[in-house]
């Protein structure tokens, strides 16, 4: 009974990690860019939602609708003016630029909002739960998981069913030939990063309503997201969801034995998966 409960909680936690990871996975799939500031951008999103709720009194679930376009714009701006300029065969410049960005965002948040813990107040929904007979699950964790599935589904639809998705895949395959189709890779990348930050904003909503956050916790979220992407297999969005679930379950199991082992268990699960399947659970065929 305890075990089923633990695994169910882990599964739902995995939904949160998949939300952290989906944007990272999308951006890597399209432009082979590893954004070391991804975790900090999620935290930035949480502070943006917090600022909107404090200024307008809106519920965080409505505030995210205002925050998402702002974050899309930020993603577009960062890609156009910063990241596009360092993309190329040499992996060093994009890594170092995003690492610099990570430190800048963390410390800008620190000087703007102090190191105090914050939380997004979602109202009575936070305390509600659903009794499924075998286990009782919180409404918020359920909602998080459902959102993760919805986000991955929606991204897949965009990727495989729309003209934009075709342009994403074509650019990822062959930039030069994509340009011969009239596609501007720089624009495609800017849109991709914009979408990634919209997903990051949704992740921020659940991060901020479920637990406390402060400016310093971004890098840890980056690590969980990264682990989910690698476990799932590079470029596979459903794989990323599966990877998030693996990390979530491992963490829940570890924490049920000793609360200090939560994070460590997730890391160790990651190492084990990678040693057994170096290309992740669902590797893309043509990578």
């Amino acid at each position: 009974m305890m075990l089923i409960d633990t695994l169910a909680q882990g599964l739902l936690l995995g939904g949160l990690y998949a939300l952290f990871a989906a944007g990272l996975s999308l951006v890597f799939g399209i432009m082979r860019l590893v954004n070391l500031a991804h975790g900090d951008l999620i935290i930035l999103g949480a502070y943006l939602i917090l600022t909107i709720t404090t200024a307008t009194g809106l519920n965080p679930f409505l505030a995210v609708l205002l925050a998402a376009p702002v974050m899309f714009g930020l993603g577009w701006f960062l890609q156009t003016h910063l990241l596009n300029r360092v993309l190329g065969a040499d992996i060093l410049p994009p890594l170092l630029v995003t690492f610099g960005l990570s430190v800048v965002i963390q410390n800008a948040l620190l000087s703007g909002f102090s190191a105090d813990s914050q939380k997004l107040a979602a109202g009575t929904i936070e305390a509600q739960s659903v009794d499924l007979g075998i286990v009782t699950l919180g409404v918020m964790p359920l909602l998080t998981f459902a959102s993760a599935v919805a986000v991955v589904f929606a991204l897949n639809q965009v990727f495989y069913r729309t003209a934009l998705g075709r342009a994403f895949r074509a650019t990822s395959d062959d930039q030069t030939t994509a340009q011969l189709m009239g596609i501007r890779p720089q624009n495609i990348f800017a849109i991709a990063t914009g979408i990634a930050l919209v997903v990051a904003t949704i992740a921020a909503l659940y991060l901020g309503t479920r637990a406390n956050f402060d400016p310093s916790i971004g890098p840890a979220r980056l690590l969980y997201a990264f682990e989910a992407v690698i476990i799932g297999g590079l470029g596979s969005l459903w794989g990323t969801l599966a990877g998030g679930i693996v990390i979530g379950m491992a963490q829940a199991l570890g924490a049920s034995i000793n609360p200090e082992w939560q994070i460590l268990s997730g890391h160790i699960a990651f190492v084990i998966v990678l040693l057994i399947r170096p290309r992740g659970l669902f590797p893309r065929a043509n990578d």
């Binding site: 003209a163 075709r166 342009a167 895949r169 074509a170 990822s172 395959d173 062959d174 030069t176 030939t177 994509a178 340009q179 011969l180 189709m181 009239g182 596609i183 501007r184 043509n286």
Partner: protein
């Protein structure tokens, strides 16, 4: 006939290496021009320079009176040039149909070519529309690449080495589509190593050697010997 594409003194470099030396070339509306020459004569570089992929160091390219020299490649394509690149370069992640649809990215307004018309031109592309583009045979891939270029309804179609690596019967099948492409109002430049094929299809032939055009004329006016000399650089002096 009015001039559609006017290339004057086009010069291009790869680093320190000069690949084109002041090439002049015109393409009239409705015309088909063939460029022939041996490997390394500069034919592909000329295509890449027209489409903005290779860096132009001097000279100009005018499309319907508008200067398109040194525009970025996507801007050139959206102005009505389409390219069938050497080696076809289909997108491996896209199905046959998606490869065609992505060609419509640079489409301007309504034109003759639609997905249905391309699939009628090359029926095999309809039959295999859900296959990955790269799962097809070389000849079928070439048809996808041509169809993909037509989907933008270009005023100028550039074809780079269509017959490379294909069996003669397949080459014939592909060139059989040319009359219909011409009839849709598209002007064509083909780059070919296959001289016979080039002479059959073109209104005008230019022979390139070492980055220069060494011989031009109508197929009927050019003797085999003259072409042979221009192609191989042999002098009868």
């Amino acid at each position: 006939m009015t001039t559609l594409l006017d290339i004057a003194g086009l010069t291009a470099h790869y680093g320190d290496f000069q690949a084109l030396f002041g090439v002049d070339l015109t393409l009239a509306e409705g015309e088909t021009v063939a460029i022939i020459g041996a490997n390394g004569a500069g034919k592909t570089t000329l295509m890449r320079a027209i489409t903005g992929v290779a860096k132009v160091t001097a000279g100009s390219v005018m499309l319907a009176g508008e200067d398109i020299t040194r525009l970025p490649a996507p801007d050139i394509m959206t102005r009505g040039i389409a390219m069938v690149p050497e080696g076809r370069r289909l997108f491996p992640s896209l199905s046959v149909e998606e490869n065609l649809l992505i060609g419509a990215h640079a489409r301007r307004g309504n034109g003759y070519w639609t997905l249905e018309r391309v699939q009628t031109l090359f029926p095999i592309l309809k039959e295999r529309r859900h296959n990955p583009g790269t799962a097809l045979s070389g000849g079928q891939q070439q048809m996808v690449a041509i169809g993909r270029a037509l989907m933008s309804n270009p005023s100028v179609l550039l074809c780079d080495e269509l017959s490379l690596g294909l069996a003669p019967v397949i080459i014939k099948e592909i060139y059989a589509a040319f009359p219909q492409i011409k009839a849709s109002g598209t002007s064509i430049i083909v780059v070919e190593q296959d001289i016979g094929q080039a002479l059959r299809v073109a209104d005008h032939v230019h022979c390139m050697m070492e980055g220069r055009i060494t011989l031009s004329g109508r197929p009927a006016d050019l003797s085999r010997d003259a072409i042979h000399d221009a192609y191989f650089g042999v002098s009868h002096a």
